[in-house]
Symmetry: D2
């Protein structure tokens, strides 16, 4: 069995891994660098994805699969996508076409992919819908099983590759949430079965492996939000909450809290609309019935309505928590929208600052702008969607793979994961492996 580290092993983002058994290969995830996407972005991320493939590779937006394609391109049998975030998915419209094989994902992930394709570039690959708990036969030597996992977006799965040389689990981005707001818990039972049977290799993310402790449940965010929003004096003030558009569970929480506040929830911002629509299309939520889901072209009209009907009647749920230049909250702060932030209005950051210098600067500028308008800020009301060090330890103990391969982070993050594995008896170079983009591992 060969593992091909194509993207996401030398930096955070643009995940892409290949696995070869005999003369058959599959691709696991095909994402972009969200950071790089943002710096290129003019009139929307979909526009960037229309740029020529070589440009997107040289700009380090898409994974550099050229060397891999040359050697293994013709024997790729499937592209499997674990969840709907852009760093796992958005490379598909760019790179998938040249591989003559289906793209396999859960319904929600496929729905987000279809939206992306519609707005960026056409894709001829067959799209195969696979639910968590099901298995798809790729070829005589390989099949893929989806195991349900909790994360910060819907229908996330761990991909179990059953091969003639043993099982490989690819689980990049997940948490162990005991009280998820939407959907069930991670399928521990199946993971333990797989572990008991013997797993040849585990590829998993190192995003938060440097944080001691465990990542706590999304349900705590609900309690935090209640503690803040139901206590402070919001009378006649605007209350604006900004969070991740793809985090449907959290949007659901916010819509429910709006009811407790006797305010009408308003979901506004382009990607907010896109993700909610995708979730509704596959029947995962009905937010457009419980809240006002604003179509992108009606953003300005809605804001005018809020101004005229009274800002104290609505709970505005929107984009901009990282201070992204084109996001709704930022445009409000820049007085580009028909809505004026007033003293004692309230802005709640239901997120943490993703630690890249661009985000840190953008947020710092945003914070200053809205503070100078007299707005009250509440921040860091958030729980991560990524397993922390002690979750990862439990995971490793559950699976006890013969080989451990961390991904999703630069060499320093991966080194941290290698250290965790060392605490459990793994030895670097023997059964734990530090790969960099472009490298190949034979096990």
């Amino acid at each position: 069995m060969k593992i091909h580290a194509i993207g996401g092993y030398s930096e955070f983002g643009r995940n892409m891994t290949g696995v070869t058994v005999g003369n058959e290969t599959v691709i696991l995830d095909c994402g972009v660098s969200v950071d790089k996407l943002a710096t290129l972005q003019g009139s929307g991320e979909e526009e960037v994805l229309k740029l020529p493939e070589p440009r997107l590779i040289s700009e380090k937006v898409a994974p550099d699969d050229r060397q891999f394609y040359k050697k293994y391109g013709r024997q790729v049998k499937a592209i499997i996508i674990g969840h709907a975030h852009l760093d796992h998915l958005a490379g598909v419209p760019v790179l998938a076409g040249k591989y003559k094989c289906p793209v396999i994902a859960t319904p929600f992930t496929l729905e987000v992919l279809k939206q992306l394709i519609k707005k960026s570039r056409p894709l001829r690959n067959q799209l195969v819908m696979l639910n968590a708990g099901s298995t798809y036969k790729i070829s005589n030597t390989m099949s893929v099983e989806f195991v349900y996992a909790t994360h910060s977006t819907l229908q996330t799965v761990m991909c179990v590759l059953h091969t003639t040389e043993g099982d490989l689990i690819y689980s990049v981005d997940f948490k162990f949430d005991e009280s998820p707001i939407i959907g069930q818990k991670t399928n521990y039972k199946r993971l333990k079965e797989l572990g008991a049977k013997g797993v040849k290799a585990l590829i998993t993310d190192s995003t938060r492996v440097d944080r001691d402790s465990r990542t706590m449940s999304e349900s705590l965010v609900r309690e935090m939000l209640k503690d803040v929003l139901l206590w402070i004096d919001t009378k006649n003030k605007a209350v604006i909450v900004t969070t991740f558009a793809s985090h449907i569970a959290r949007l659901t929480t916010l819509v429910r809290i709006a009811k407790l506040m006797n305010r009408i929830p308003v979901l506004i911002g382009r990607s907010m609309y896109n993700y909610v629509t995708a979730a509704e299309n596959v029947g995962l939520c009905k937010l457009s019935r419980e809240a006002i889901l604003v179509k992108p072209r009606e953003n300005r009209r809605m804001l005018k309505r809020i101004e005229s009907e009274g800002r104290g009647k609505f709970l505005i749920i929107t984009t901009g928590h990282q201070g992204e230049p084109n996001a709704m909250l930022v445009r409000m702060a820049d007085d580009q929208m028909p809505f004026t932030l007033l003293p004692e209005d309230i802005v709640v950051f239901c997120s943490e600052v993703i630690p890249s210098p661009v985000n840190q600067a953008n947020r710092s500028v945003l914070d200053k702008k809205i503070k100078s308008k007299g707005v009250r800020i509440f921040k860091d009301i958030h729980m991560s969607g990524h397993a922390a060090r002690e979750d990862m330890r439990e995971f490793l103990k559950m699976i006890r793979p013969q080989h451990y391969i961390p991904t999703h982070g630069g060499i320093i993050k991966l080194s941290n994961a290698i250290q965790l594995a060392a605490e459990l008896g793994y030895k670097l170079g023997k059964d734990s492996h530090l790969l960099q983009d472009g490298q190949e591992l034979d096990i």
Copy 2:
């Protein structure tokens, strides 16, 4: 009315404020610097408090009240203590004797004070017990009313000084907890009444005024602890939780969680014993019935019992969260106790590192030691007991004092509080005041 900034206005700790109306003066709080106490500490904090008064002043443990005493000492009519933490209370055995007046506090605060006196130096002042909601007449021109407030220890009050020149509220250390584990909420109704009637001056702490957001409820710590302790695999492993000994509400939470884990809760560590006993003496909890409360001289015996009966049967609740050299957890880590930390044992820091360089170093050393034993660490499971910036804003809006005087922090913290007041229209030097230790303000 004169405000005397005696201690706590130039640094964090050793709080002491005087208020003079006509020719009568009262003292509000009389604490020590916990940091300085720790660096002097040999065989226990009580030993330090036996040192001569001039030494304790020159070592900056006790407030420097010499200049104040010379001018106003003979006209002091009362010493009023707001709550039972050492930075508000422990200066009493050192300094109070020379003031010929009673010491006024709530029952729990008095109980902790009595313990301290018994172990350090005798005190002849009369001790006056006053409950929250009650008022005590100090003289013809002054009386003090206690208003209940939530904080990280029991029976904390805001002190309202009713004087012939108007009301002064002294509220140093509190939070606004909507779901306290023990006791009721802060008495907002009374605060609003006082505000409506008009308050001449508000003295309040600036501890967390530099943190945007609101300080959330202690009940969230319970949910976090459940999320961690009921999920991770603790079978046959020691589980040790370390937290603030004076935080009886949190100890209660931990004892209850022990039951859910089918473990016997064990409260161990000298100050753990002292605070719990004080709380029981005044009827505020019955922890010694629900848990094993270990007498200091039986610490070693108890630990041996845990070793022999099986570490998997107990939940050890103990001291040492700041890495203090003599605390129980630190002595375990140093192999000085008859209990060996083993790989995959679990240590939960139910606290945050109080940001002084000594604490940071102590904790860093402790973390390394226990990690090198293979212990699993969970940290920062904590909610502060101090109002954050947006809580403080609500408080100021509730009271709308004529004069605002921040305390408890160095000049930088106080400057931050002055900025908050400026956002609400206060002007430095006119109706908001930046005092330093040793200064006097006439209003």
Copy 3:
């Protein structure tokens, strides 16, 4: 005597102070916020300065002198500018017109001002040239004396206001350099004379008062540059040094080092051209004879010449050290100029990152871009132009003013300066004063 804190007392930048004696007033410095200027900047800073005065005030680019103007505007007798940096000077074209009085400055400062006026908006005030060491009689009650001081630009002076109520020294931005590259040392003799005679008030900057130690000489930067540039292997590689355009002394050092490297020095970048031209116009340097000083419209042609003649033949001295979006180095990094950064080319940051989040983000992005091209980076080769804590202590001991008023920084910086003064016996509110923008002090 009244001190009016107009700008620079609540934040770093846009310095402006008024001083009133009897019914006559002078203005000391009239700058802009360089940070705010940068965020508004489209096609050049001069364009921004053309915006209407109310807009520049409301955007916090120019000091808010409205309240001051209403009360004292008609009695202002002079506007005095201490040195040629934009945060002290660039408010003149915006605000000076409405004050019917002359603008007084040294020749170099006036030259930079004239350039600015030419490109932004006309100014009718009379310009009065005053050399260091000279005195100008403003009115019967006031005259101003310029005392030479070292700083990071040329002809910086401390302004001594001789009034009927005593002397005031305004010394905002200086260092004590014992080996300046250009010009003499600070005039200590005169400062000591003034101190001996008695100084009523000292207004000075708190920029680096939080740094222990002393700010060392600019001549050390020369030694550092030699140590780096004469040692590393630069053969056939581009060597690009980026530094402050207004720092003529450092440019001189770099031009001399180019000779030692047998390279032709090239000064390129718009503000590089402007400052060097201003310095030459008043006879302070002859850099255009020793180096190629590139006119802004010939930038592209020059870079093409370097590409064709061989990058190993030139030392490129340019702008962009803070990662400013339109600066030359940044445009090279973005492939917008006819010059390609190649692997092993060398970029030397002869500066430090000025700690604002925008700079930090811009530099972080720039560093990543040029590193990803394989460029070698040398950074922080720099000595500040601002007195550090121990320099400031010597200064205070030299002058021993009756009143000490720190400026240039937010409340936290000013608090630090107040603490330094406290170490020397000054008392806050009595003889040291913490002013905020818009406040007035009567002494």
Copy 4:
């Protein structure tokens, strides 16, 4: 050829590497963890080194050579020590005895070793003195050549192992100083010859490989010290400079500056005495003629003399720059010595804080103590003795080894070095190697 990573590959300190060719092995460096040494230290580091070998290994003071010893112990032909710092040398008295082979080092290194042996435990191994520029034949298959390198102590060498399988260079801790205060420059000529001939493997340190830029010359420290000490007003004040005792070049600088200040230089502190004596014993300096070199038992008498003759007459050069609990400056700050620190006395930290939490806390406590006495602090007057990233790049380009193995640092530092090598075309696992303590590499 086999490389054995024994110590210093998983953390900073306790360096020890083995190299095997055929059935012969040599050991390169044999140090201790200075951090761990300090935490165990009671009555001096020599006392700690008397503890039993297994204890010193389990406490992580000495490298864990047990597994290595079992497999290769009997075939070790030499122990070679590169320079006189404890993290390279002080493991010799602990571990060397069981290897039946000589210890090879330069005269100064041997002298320091002999002192250590005398005070800790006897050693029976033969001591072989080898000068830089010379070669020693170890066996028929191996010889070692010493190549001179600059560093922060005297007679540092790179060790070139000439073997039948090619040359290996072990160069752990060096800088490229073009103007060293004592001794010549690094022998670049020989390094280039070796590079041209072909080097099989290079083992070098990663201490400062994460710092962009180049490490500048020690001669700059002299200029900085002059700029500070000859400018500030020191009249009748104590001037105390604290720096590294082993840094004889810097001590020499300080002694010379004392002359310029018309002060008598006094070298005081136990390790100051030891290192200077060692250097004098081998004829490398004559500091005891130019300065008062205080014998440890005469420390108190000397300080009394300074008090009585006048503190303004001496320049005190001493230990304590990291705030180490028993060092001279710390004991002065704690009032344990017959010398009182007075207001406006001057303390110069001619060092940087070595970034471990213990040092950071110790220094923070020390700084506060001396500041509270009114002492003036000057800090960070220092240049490192370790090659930075761009020095290391030049080194790699000089040598172009077939295999690159970084050491001296945890996995994160080593990962950084691997990235640098990647920029020069090396590939992890192929020709650059990330080893952890206990691992073996076959090349």
